[in-house]
Amino acid sequence: MLKSRIIPCLDVNEGRVVKGVKFQNLRDAGDPVELSFHYQDQGADELVLLDVTATRQERIAMLETIERVRQRLSIPLTVGGGIGSIEDAGRLLNAGADKVSINSAAVRNPDLIAAMSARFGAQCTVVAIDAKKQGEIFQVLTRSGTTAEAIDAVAWAARAESLGAGEILLTSFDRDGTRSGYDLPMLSAVTDACSLPVIASGGADSVAHMVEAFQHGAHAVLAASIFHDANMTVGEVKQQLTDAGIQVRNEW
């Protein structure tokens, strides 16, 4: 049986992890290589590096960061943030990413999903969807949540699947940073409408939140602050998930 995955997420800017990481036992808590290895050591099943840089110069630095992380990592690595073309995706894969996540560019140009899937395979084509509740639907947001699109997230997930995506990374804009748990109605709506694996993101503050997400169809959970603040190690989370009857990879 496939295991439920725990995926720490690191925001990287100019080769450094940003968004307050509070580890005591690391020499340099801002180094993405050291932090990635640290999470792998704790039993992370996969890692997501999110490029939050704005300039072209910094994007080149991101490629070096990915190369350095890849050298140390023996688990899958997904890279997202600012990918606009199939050439961008190819550069990230060449640097050592196993999967590439596309967001705004896929909304602007859905054919990019099909092109990436045909060239690199569905298994490395992740479509990231940011959405918030708007009346009766979940509205897609792009450009880091600043632009509301006239698109329903549930329909968009189904379309991404038909275009050749291999995985959906679903982030609730309403819940992100609130620590009030994942948006379960949105998660259920998307997992019902599309047969791809879905990674739930946004709002996790406890193992109970993760259990809820898995019970609502998530194949994986993404979490940042719960790990960065050193509230819990990945291993402690996996132990508690196991106690709650969720099957996780038996390494931590």
């Binding site: 049986m1 496939l2 295991k3 995955r5 792998q40 099943d45 890849r70 050298q71 140390r72 990592l73 023996s74 688990i75 899958p76 690595l77 894969l93 060449n94 640097a95 050592g96 196993d98 045909a118 060239r119 690199f120 395979g121 569905a122 298994q123 490395c124 291999g166 995985e167 047969s195 791809l196 694996p197 194949h219 994986a220 990879r249 038996n250 390494e251």
Partner: protein, 198 residues
């Protein structure tokens, strides 16, 4: 020296990094001579069955790979699509011609499971094999349904069982990615490198 066949359609950075961590030297090759003479050869594979099969033919590597694997005593590792290519054909691309070393066809996972299978799953050797049971990272939509005659095999559950790895002589084929399967995956690579004959 490990020779990695570079069909140009697979993402092999993770594999190179894994060999680096294990202290092994590697080289990318498209030379039939390397494939015939190297102590260790890897046939990696990510992407489409047809594209990889075409690349093998365009590079003129088909005979060299088949001869090497049929010789049995040469250490050869086939990963993911590389394992599927050992078969005659795949439901993924009906007209494409696999290496045909195994007279079987690759099929798509059935209804009732998420496709692709993406994530960690248990690998259980059915016969005495080159590694112990463990958990491996998979990223596949197609699979071998039953074990081929004359090969040892491991199985995995995903909407019923499928064959997640096979071995014969010093050839090891894995549907999973040992290079992305943590410390267990590294132990699988080490066993293959060090040459356990099955």
């Amino acid at each position: 020296m490990i020779q990695i066949i570079n069909t140009g359609v697979a993402n092999i950075r993770s594999l190179q990094a894994a060999f680096d961590r294990l202290g092994c030297t590697w080289n990318l090759t498209v030379s039939p001579e390397d494939i015939a003479t190297a102590s260790h050869v890897v046939l990696p594979g990510v992407g489409a069955f047809a594209a990889a099969a075409e690349a093998i033919d365009q590079l003129g590597l088909r005979t060299a790979i088949i001869d090497r694997i049929n010789h049995r005593e040469s250490a050869t590792l086939c990963i993911c699509l590389g394992m599927q290519l050992l078969c005659e054909s795949s439901e993924e691309s009906q007209s494409a011609k696999g290496l045909g070393i195994i007279p079987m066809a690759i099929t798509r996972f059935g209804d009732g499971v998420k496709i692709p299978q993406l994530g960690w799953n248990e690998v259980r050797p059915l016969d005495n094999g080159p590694y112990d049971a463990g958990e491996a990272y998979f990223a596949n939509s197609y699979r071998l349904e039953t074990a081929p005659d004359g090969w040892g095999a491991a199985e995995t559950d995903y909407g019923g069982t499928f064959i997640s790895s096979i071995w014969r002589g010093r050839t090891l084929a894995c549907q999973f990615h040992p290079e992305l399967s943590g410390t267990w995956g590294e132990s699988v690579l080490t066993q293959w490198i060090e040459g356990i004959t099955c």
